[in-house]
């Protein structure tokens, strides 16, 4: 049984271990503080608590290696409780009261939007580890999750390919918030440009936490019966996925008939579902736990040891934090200081190994290069990688498929501007 009392003991023990590790000799000076801003209560705790734990682990490991620039790191955990104004309040507290050198945090776009003015005002660094809708490039934020071109478009390409089943008809199903709206907008434009007829695209939005999927799944089934191979692109948000997949399984929609490719369903979400009826449904990510290479295996082993749970899974946002944290360490070493302002300038161009065997680079637009992997759900809750990009894909801050943003680029190295218009050659418009 994997009751989390163990998990709790595990964290406590890990804390003790980090104290022990702190006896590794450190140079003079107080420890350097790192802020962790993930919800530990409320609706988002379900996803974000894991990221807090992974940061604690990474910081502990770094201290074992002797810290950074000879200084010990210390994690400061804040709980914004899935409450958006509280995110801003906690960010301010971490930066001005605790004097942290960088913050790793946020999950939803709205939480990022909420803390953004604070980071700009107090000039600190936020590492944001989750795939998002793009359309943003800020000096103080480093986006280590996927932009739409690193997840959505390759997934659709795969489904249109021979291996993916040559889908001709598309259901874009999402939760009604900005990430699905934007992703679907981009995908719709992309599909139309690929010659898909408007009648062959069905778009459907549901509220957060939607739990009764009978009608929608039946609709999808009917839409799929028009005689053309149909695929579902799901941007359904975390909580609503379990009932959605349960309904798919119950209504007998098999992946061989209508495959569902999801952008928000990873190992962590599947841990709550019996995946036998879902074998073959897909997910597009930049990392899967099942990827075989020594770095990943070591990471998984360490994570399961850290959480004292041999069945604990890893997922994509965890890898994003792993990359982001290592980039921060390297940037601090390059800049020779913890001063956020200098580290921000040192970060673009920094490379750090990712867990899929490549080396990711921080780009001038503050997004990173990542491989795109398509995985099929296995009956043990893991994914089988069935396709992957040959190289790393650079993240686009601004989508080329949206009217308002196709001329914009983010460049914090030479142009010092997050929304530079390449047509007017001006920053801002």
């Amino acid at each position: 049984m994997s009751l989390s009392r163990r998990h709790f003991l595990g964290t406590a023990a890990a804390g003790a271990a980090s104290l022990a590790a702190s006896r590794v000799s450190f140079a003079q000076g107080a420890p350097i503080k790192i802020g962790i801003l993930h919800s530990l209560s409320g609706t988002m705790a379900i996803s974000e608590t894991t990221l807090k734990d992974v940061m604690l682990m990474l910081i502990e490991d770094q201290n074992r290696k002797g810290g950074v620039l000879g200084r010990r790191l210390e994690a400061v955990v804040a709980d914004p409780a899935s409450n958006w104004p509280l995110f801003a309040e906690k960010a301010r507290e971490l930066i001005s009261r605790d004097q942290v050198s960088a913050v790793f945090g946020c999950w939803t776009s709205v939480s990022r939007k909420s803390v953004l003015p604070v980071f700009k005002e107090l000039n600190n660094i936020l590492f944001y580890p989750v795939q998002y809708e793009g359309e943003e490039s800020e000096r103080n934020v480093f986006y280590t999750g996927a932009a739409p071109n690193q997840q959505a478009i390759p997934a659709v390409d795969y489904l249109m390919s021979k291996d993916g089943g040559e889908a001709k008809r598309w259901v874009l199903a999402g939760t009604d918030y900005v990430y699905p709206r934007t992703t679907n907008k981009i995908l719709e434009a992309y599909l139309l440009s690929k010659g898909v007829a408007p009648a062959d695209i069905m778009i459907n939005y549901t509220p957060f936490g939607h739990s009764d999927w009978q009608t929608i799944v039946a609709d999808i089934k009917r839409f799929g019966s028009a005689g053309k191979k149909t695929a579902v692109v799901s941007t359904i948000n975390g909580d609503a996925n379990v009932p959605f997949y349960k309904e798919l399984g119950n209504q007998g929609i098999k992946a061989t008939d209508i495959p569902v490719v999801a952008f928000s369903v990873g190992e962590e979400e599947l841990a709550g579902i019996d995946t036998k009826p879902l074998v073959g449904h897909l997910a597009a990510w930049n990392y899967f736990q099942s990827v075989k290479n020594p770095a990943n295996e070591a990471f998984i082993k360490r994570w399961q040891e850290f959480t004292r749970n041999p069945r604990r899974v890893t997922n994509d946002p965890m890898e994003a934090h792993y990359i982001g944290f290592n980039m921060w360490v390297k940037a601090v070493e390059k800049a020779g200081t913890f001063d956020p302002d200098k580290v921000i300038d040192a970060l673009p161009g920094i490379t750090a190994p990712n867990l899929t065997g490549g080396v990711s680079e921080m780009l001038p637009n503050h997004h990173i290069t990542k491989p795109v992997l398509i995985g099929e759900v296995r009956d043990d809750g893991q994914f089988d990688v069935v396709w992957q990009t040959s190289g790393l894909v650079p993240g686009d801050a601004w989508s080329k498929h949206l009217e308002g943003s196709k001329d914009l680029i983010g460049d914090w190295v030479t142009r010092k501007c997050g929304n530079f218009n390449t047509v007017t050659n001006r920053c801002g418009s």
Binding site: E89, E93, V110, L116, V178, F208, G404, L408, N419, S429
Partner: protein, 374 residues
């Protein structure tokens, strides 16, 4: 002269409360703007923002106490009025961004450009004018409360039924504002404000200014509410709370009394929301969440229902606890503390914190008085 008479009419705790507000208005700007940052007396900007937020919650709490504490209407939807006021303010602030949005569109806010909207929806017209926006801050919650109240009180929906439908109201608004098609920014809400009446929102002096304005509004709200409950009208409200049917049989138009106080309270909540948004920098549909409204009720109960001052006190105490407990080692356990506090207050302190303070003072004075008699 009038002030003196007014002060005399107020109970001791109310005098203390007003004195405290006056002190805040003076000390906080001095502490933040005048004192050097390394001084012990310096108040960091973060604290000013935090206090400003508490003050807005206190206004909401007083508004709620007015309907619940004095008229017995338990509204589980006051967060909706607060959020509507906040949205009206947020829309004004969005329009002030002008071409400084990421896409540089002169009229449309970023999220509309982003979703390929071509023109400003009707609901947004006029919000670039401060006066109109401020009118909407009170009008939208006021009209909604009036219509809702008129329907509900006229057909004598009372007690838990009323509480549950107010909850349904805020829940429906929550779902509606989450919809991107509504044109209010969906889940991301309104954010990244630049300036208010030409003053940059992020500037220290603007923050202090907003804080002072909030405290002044709190004092005014308190004054209005205090005057109201002290008047004959207020006595009728209490009569309705204690025995609605009897009051009706005595010839009072219960519905009218209820409707007036409910609408007024919603307007006050709207003002609180409007002050809240520029200070926290974001307004999002989650402000409509039913738990937020329930939490507001809890503040009133914790502070002391039917005392006005207690409501404000409760709002500050609960939120301060939240701030303290959500950082550091206690972070995973703060819900235990908060939940435990609610249980404890209802069981041990039915009159709230204020009731406890007063009981202790009363106990002390009875303990002291025999000595004085000697």
């Amino acid at each position: 002269m009038i002030t003196l008479r007014l002060m005399r009419a107020l109970a001791g705790r109310e005098q203390v409360f007003l004195a405290l507000l006056a002190a805040l208005i003076v000390l906080v700007p001095v502490g933040n703007l005048v004192m050097p940052p390394d001084s012990v007396l310096h108040i960091p900007t973060g604290t000013v923002v935090l206090l400003g937020k508490y003050v807005c919650y206190a206004i909401l709490a007083i508004a709620l106490d007015l309907v619940w504490g004095y008229c017995g209407i338990l509204s589980l939807g006051h967060g909706a009025f607060f959020a509507l006021g906040g949205y009206a303010m947020g829309m004004y602030l969005m329009r002030q961004i002008g071409t400084r949005g990421v896409y540089g569109h002169p009229v449309l806010p970023d999220f509309m450009v982003f979703l390929n909207w071509k023109e400003l929806p009707v609901t947004w017209w006029g919000f670039d004018w401060f006066g109109y926006a401020m009118l909407m801050v009170v009008l939208v919650p006021g009209v909604l409360a009036f219509v809702f109240g008129w329907l509900a009180f006229r057909s004598r929906v009372t007690g838990v039924y009323l509480s549950i439908i107010t909850q349904a109201l805020t829940y429906a608004l929550l779902l509606a504002f989450f919809r991107n098609d509504m044109g209010f920014g969906g889940n991301n809400g309104l954010t990244d404000f630049k300036d208010i009446l030409g003053f940059p929102v992020q500037a220290q002096s603007t923050r202090v200014g907003l804080f002072v304005l909030s405290v002044a509004t709190l004092a005014a709200t308190f004054g209005l509410a205090r005057w109201l409950v002290g008047s004959t009208y207020g006595k009728v409200l209490v009569a309705i709370r204690d025995a609605e049917s009897r009051t009706r049989f005595l010839g009072y138009r219960v519905e009218h009394h209820k409707l007036l106080v409910f609408t007024l309270s919603a307007m006050l909540a709207g003002i609180a929301g409007a002050l809240y948004v520029p200070q926290v920098g974001i307004i999002n549909p989650s402000e409509f969440a039913p738990t937020n409204s329930i939490e507001a009720v809890v503040w009133v109960a914790v502070g002391g229902r039917g005392t006005l001052v207690g409501a404000a006190l409760g709002a500050v105490v609960v939120n301060a606890l939240k701030t303290v407990f959500t950082t550091g080692a206690l972070a995973p356990y703060w819900l235990f503390a908060l939940g435990g506090l609610f249980v404890l207050v209802t069981l041990a302190l039915p009159q709230g914190i204020l009731g406890l303070l007063e009981r202790r003072r009363a106990a002390k004075s009875t303990a002291v008085s025999p000595k004085a008699a000697e």
